[in-house]
Amino acid sequence: MSDNSQYQPRIAAFLCNWCSYGAADLAGVSRLQYPPNIHVIRIPCTGRMSPKFILQAFRQGVDGVWVSG
């Protein structure tokens, strides 16, 4: 492993139950490999997303936020 890959960011992923969360499920079933840095938070719909969530995530020290519908 090279040096810059030592750093493992924490990323909060807000995923819509019906879209990206489903995709994540399918990715798992299909045994697709992806980085383990994302911490998934399932939201009932992307419409539930609020700018407060994004700021709250940053406030608690995540390195990135990903919102996916």
Partner: protein
């Protein structure tokens, strides 16, 4: 929101939005890789963090 956060100085690349249907497992996997790489390239977040852990 993305534009405002970037305006006040949060680096572009910390906040991502995407649109993936439940059938698009490949796109999901590709996006995770992309998001992770982009955040990794920026290094640890420096701003907006409320760190109160300073106790013996």
């Amino acid at each position: 929101m993305k534009s405002l956060l970037e305006y006040v100085g949060i680096e572009p690349g910390r906040l991502h939005f995407s649109w993936i249907s439940s059938a698009e497992a490949t796109k999901f996997q590709e996006t995770v890789v992309e998001v992770t790489e982009s955040v990794k390239a920026l290094g640890p977040a420096k701003h907006m963090i409320k760190d109160i852990r300073k106790v013996a």
